[in-house]
Each structure stands twice: as C-alpha cells, then as structure tokens.
Symmetry: C2
Subunit: 119 residues, 2 copies
C-alpha cells in the first residue's frame, strides 16, 4: 500500500526536527542571539551576504571592492567562536537539506531521463 | 525514538513514485514522447520556456516580441490535447513538490523566526 505523500512528508518534518543537525543549529542560534553584540555582528554579516546574493541573482555586477569587504567581514565574524560554530552548523544543515531534496526529486529526474532516452 | 532523516526521505521518495500525481505524469510523458511530431512540438516549447527563464534569472531584459512569441507557442502547443494534459499534470506535480518542501522546511523557518522574535 502506498503511503500518502503528505503523511510521509510530516514524518520527515519530525525527523528533521529531531536530527542532531537541527538540534545543534538550534542550540547555536540561541547562543549567538543571547548576546546583543554577537547577535548584531551575525546579523550585519548575514545582511551583507544577502545583499551580495540578491545582486548576483538580479544579474548586477559585484565589484572587487564589495568582494573584499565581504571577505573581511567573514574573517572578522569567524573570530567569534559562537558565530563560527553557527556558520559550520548552517553549512551542515544546508548539505542535509540538499541531500534530502535530491532523494525526493529522484523519481522526477529519472522520469525525464527515461522518457528522453527511450526516444 | 527519532527516525533517521535519510530513511524517512527514502520513504518519501517511494511515496512520490507511488502517488497519483507522479503516475499520471509518467503516463502522459510516455504518450507525448511516443509520437515524434508531438514530442518535437513539446520539446520546442520547453526550450523556449527554458531560454526565457535563463534570461530572466541572469537579469537580461525580455523583449515584448519574445513574450508574444512565447504566448503564441503556448497557444499552439496547448491545442494538442496530449500536451495540454501533460502541462496540467506538470503543474499539479510542481504544486505537490512545493508543498512537500514547505512541510520539510517548516522546522528551519520556525527556528529563524523564534530566535529572531525572542530578541
Ligand atoms: Ca532523446
Ligand atoms: Ca528581532
């Protein structure tokens, strides 16, 4: 019997919530946001990152100066241990999420390539 | 006990494969690709669509002429019943996928908003 996709998706939501990756991220977020200075440092860094991403996505040119400025900010911010750990945890979480997506999207990918190679 | 996220993701992969949405899409793809003329019509349409998407994502301007050309192609292509049905099935599938993603990403969204509103 096929399980309903949404029921299984809710199971996956629960599994994500109970994963070490998520719990670790949660703990580190709380740590960073508990201290006003660390929080501001992190949010400042996050804003610079988002700005560059939006520029890139909209096809705007990113100047050499902006790249250097962003690199300096990363270097400074990573000297804060709580933030460095949080950034690592975010990377691990985002790797997990992209692997989960790859697994779930496999039927569709196979469908496209099967149909195409049969013709 | 927490389930391993990857085990649950594989369950979701199976559930997607066994869903009516997926099976319907599979049947309609085979139908469209079984006929050379219909297949070419569909692939031509798909290529125009992808080209416009890539232009948009890279921040290039899309001309009025290109929009009109794309609209004409959609109108022509949708007169083919097999293709029209396939396009509908793709839309239903993509709605399902985006709902699944929303469910799975909920813990992360809640994490960000909880941490932020607490400060
Ligand atoms: Ca082919
Ligand atoms: Ca806040």
């Amino acid at each position: 019997m096929a399980n309903n996709v949404y029921d299984v998706a809710y199971n996956l939501e629960t599994a994500v919530k109970e994963s070490d990756e998520f719990k670790n991220l949660q703990t580190l977020y709380k740590e960073v946001f508990a201290d006003e200075t660390t929080k501001n440092m992190f949010e400042n860094f996050r804003n610079i990152q988002l700005e560059l991403q939006q520029k890139q996505m909209s096809g705007q040119e990113i100047t050499q100066e902006e790249v250097e400025q962003a690199q300096k900010t990363v270097a400074v911010v990573q000297q804060n241990e709580a933030i460095a750990k949080l950034m690592e945890a975010e990377q691990r979480m985002s790797m997990m999420v992209s692997e989960l997506n790859k697994i779930i999207m496999k039927p569709l990918e196979e469908l496209y390539s099967d149909v195409d190679s049969a013709n």
